[in-house]
Symmetry: C2
Subunit: 142 residues, 2 copies
């Protein structure tokens, strides 16, 4: 499942964007939507990877049983999305370079799977090193 | 400040959408962006009123000193947005028909102004009564 999110993150990096990718899967494992951070590409601060994947999945009556896969620990904005819509599980590539709301989600009944994937870590570590201002803008640390 | 958000909510209602509106103001009171829930109109579940206003404001280096005005208590998704990006203040039309994360935001240092506006209450009360399935879909209660 991480492969699709990682592919989105790599595409984002190649486009000059923030290299975070995500994918939303249905209860049966069907891909509902995939996306990547589009702050730079679309000039749109509302499209973090998770919200882009959620948006791509279109309107759904329920998110029960769905899994959000993301290359990076979800920030508060994306954690709020998961909680509000009742997404059941979040699979996270890594939480070393940034740690958002995944512990909070776990306390509120969301299943959290933290992979600590080396490629996800390397992608973000290099990006934060090379583009600190853009990264700070993306997480509201400006 | 509520007038702009209310105008957005009324426009949304006239379009057949979920009647929640929002507006983001800069520290000096300048309108940075305004928007409304666009689930129905754009088939886009990621555009709640607050995220639509945030999106319309475009990329900002900092949200320090900004105010998000919304006709309805912000859900967890929109509360997470406020917390992550460091929006300083949230002015809320009402929290009678739905109560989201505004107490949580207050605990994390966001200034909350709850107006309990009769027109905001009436808009949502009628909408929830007439379109319960759509409302439940919009807050992930399906």
């Amino acid at each position: 499942m991480l492969a699709t999110a990682l592919a989105e993150a790599r595409t984002g990096l190649a486009e000059g964007g923030v290299p975070v990718g995500a994918a939303l899967y249905g209860p049966d494992g069907t891909l509902l939507g995939r996306g990547r951070n589009l702050r730079v590409q679309d000039g749109d601060p509302s499209l973090h990877a998770e919200t882009a994947a959620f948006r791509a999945a279109g309107r759904q009556r329920s998110y029960r049983g769905t899994t959000m896969v993301t290359t990076l620990s979800p920030c508060w904005y994306c954690s709020g999305l998961v909680r509000q819509f009742g997404i059941s599980r979040v699979v996270i590539g890594e939480a070393r370079t940034f740690s958002g709301g995944h512990d909070w989600l776990a306390r509120h009944g969301v299943e959290i799977v933290l992979l600590d994937d080396a490629e996800c870590v390397a992608l973000m570590r290099d990006f934060v090193r090379d583009h600190p201002a853009l990264w700070n803008e993306d997480i509201g640390a400006g």
